[in-house]
Amino acid sequence: MTLFALDRVTVRLDGREVLHGVSLELREGSFAALIGPNGAGKSTLLRAAAGLIPAEGGISLAGAPLARLSSTARARAAAFLAQEREVAWPVTVKTLVGLGRFPHRGAMQPATAEDRAHVERAMERMDVARLRARPATELSGGERARALIARALAQDTPLLLADEPAAGLDPAHQITLMEVFAELAADGRGVLASMHDLGLAARWCDRLVLLHEGRIVADGTPEAVLTPENLARVYGIEAHIGRANGGLVVQPLSRTTGR
């Protein structure tokens, strides 16, 4: 089943066209990375897919046009992890992760056993269970990032849209994160995450979507997308591309001239 589909989506921010007629589909069981240089439109694409900003063109979520879904139905279909790791109040980590259950609970309903189980599982997955009683504002940057990812996991949606989830994590937790997202895909969910670490993306994602100046310029397996030509044309870099432990290894080496 298609988890989300963008059909010639154009987005203007402050009158400037940021996405130019982008079409993209994500099916269940896929962990796709959205890559591209700064300003390529990755965050804009993720926000448009989540219905957070006005966009022209067709956007559908869980097979239904976005406009016809209620806000709760949207929130049950797709979780969104924002790039800004904002936590306004010093609520505990457990309370923060519990916010992921928002679309599953009515206004006056207390948390159910199922809610609690999802929160526990999400905290364990992101290794923040032992921080449960700590105020979220007092965590380190990486810890807070993990708590916020756990919040998105607790939302328990078929689709996860994550904006730079790996940024600021130490290597061990980056790998944990990739494993968790791969597990979600293996469970039949879909993940679309924007990433800057090409090595991480190449190694863990089954699909890469390369965005350049508001257009998708390559879409496919890591091998098909991370070609020397694409890297030079889009990023303006030269990279070592090899294989190790059964996966692709990408290590940027130098800038190409003329950029």
Binding site: R74, W89, L96, L99, F102, R151
Partner: protein, 340 residues
């Protein structure tokens, strides 16, 4: 910084405090009345009659003290609740109910009623014009901030409106027809619950209750909003609706409060701030706690105003600021020490 008090215990303690202060407020007044006498008079017949023949103590209890205590309760709760709601919505602990311009415009409406002499000619013209001012504030703020605007535009629109209404209030004060009118305007602006009647309760109650209902629905949305507007929207919070309810709910209950009691500051700022650590900083839980805390604080202030200076008609707004401002400074110093 999270002070561990179970939420039901906190709410129960605050509710008991409010109940006790409400009772104490009923027992405070220039007439020396015994406890039993007062309480039986409160429920006696014949309270709502004319001066002829009625039970004097019953009239004092039912027509003079009861409305005053009820208004302190309702207005204090409104200020605490809307302060908590706005701080939650704007994610800023310095937000207070006056921020969106309602207090200033409601005051302006009241001042115009005094200035033009309508308040003396037509009973209830003052609260009616103050309510109209609050209503106008909502329209203008929504218009200025735009349908989809975020928190910042709301603050800016509120600040602009407050300045404008404040300037017009000063102008009315400058142009007042005689020194007595100026004095009445100044006194009114300081806020007071003295000699309010059941009619004031009846005028304010529908708006205050409507405001409470609107603000009470915000809790979950405010919790989610702690993670930012985008994340909240992705969790299913309808932000335009949330803002509309926050603004209209605040305007409704604070506008009605200002209409009958004048501008009473600091309660809406200090109370949520004070209680936040006791509810684990959760905006949803802060709403009820702040409403009760605000009611307790205003009841206490109004009792203090009568006990400390029975002959002076000490203005409530003055008293809340006198107590609130040093307390707030203490909070600031404590916060700074913790951050240092």
């Amino acid at each position: 910084m999270n002070l561990r008090v179970p939420y039901p215990v906190l709410i129960a303690a605050l509710a008991v405090t409010v109940a006790l202060l409400f009772g104490l407020s009923l027992l405070t007044g220039s007439a020396e009345l015994g406890l039993g006498e007062s309480l039986s008079a409160l429920f006696a017949d014949g309270g709502s009659g004319g001066s002829g023949g009625g039970n004097v103590v019953a009239i004092v209890m039912q027509e003079i003290r009861l409305p005053r205590a009820l208004l302190a309760l309702m207005i204090g709760a409104s200020l605490g609740l809307s302060g908590a709601a706005l701080q939650g919505y704007l994610r800023n602990p310095l937000a207070e109910p006056g921020l969106i311009g309602v207090t200033a415009t409601a005051s302006l409406g009241a001042v115009l009623a005094i200035y033009t002499g309508i308040s003396a000619a037509v009973p209830l013209a003052l609260p009616a014009m103050a309510l109209a001012g609050a209503g106008l504030a909502v329209l203008l703020v929504q218009l200025l901030a735009g349908g989809r605007g975020g928190a910042l535009t709301l603050i800016l629109a509120g600040v602009a409106l407050t300045s404008l209404a404040g300037a017009m209030t000063s102008l009315a004060l400058n142009l007042a027809p005689n020194p007595f009118a100026s004095l009445e305007i100044v006194f009114w602006l300081l806020g007071s619950l003295a000699d309010r009647s059941m009619i004031h309760v009846q005028i304010a109650a529908p708006f205050i209750l409507a405001g409470w209902l609107m603000l009470a629905t915000l809790g979950r949305g405010l919790d989610a909003l702690a993670l930012g507007e985008e994340t909240a929207a992705s969790l299913g919070v309808r932000l335009p609706l949330l803002r509309l309810l926050a603004v209209v709910g605040t305007a409704s209950c604070v506008g009605a409060s200002t209409a009958v009691a004048g501008a009473i500051g600091f309660v809406g700022l200090v109370v949520p701030h004070l209680l936040r650590p006791f509810v684990g900083h959760r905006p949803s839980r802060l709403l009820l706690a702040s409403a009760l805390g605000g009611a307790a604080m205003l009841l206490l202030a109004d009792i203090a105003a009568r006990v400390l200076a029975p002959d002076e008609d000490l203005k409530l707004g003055v008293l809340t600021a006198l107590v609130g401002a040093p307390f707030f400074l203490w909070l600031v110093v404590r916060t700074r020490r913790r951050l240092a």
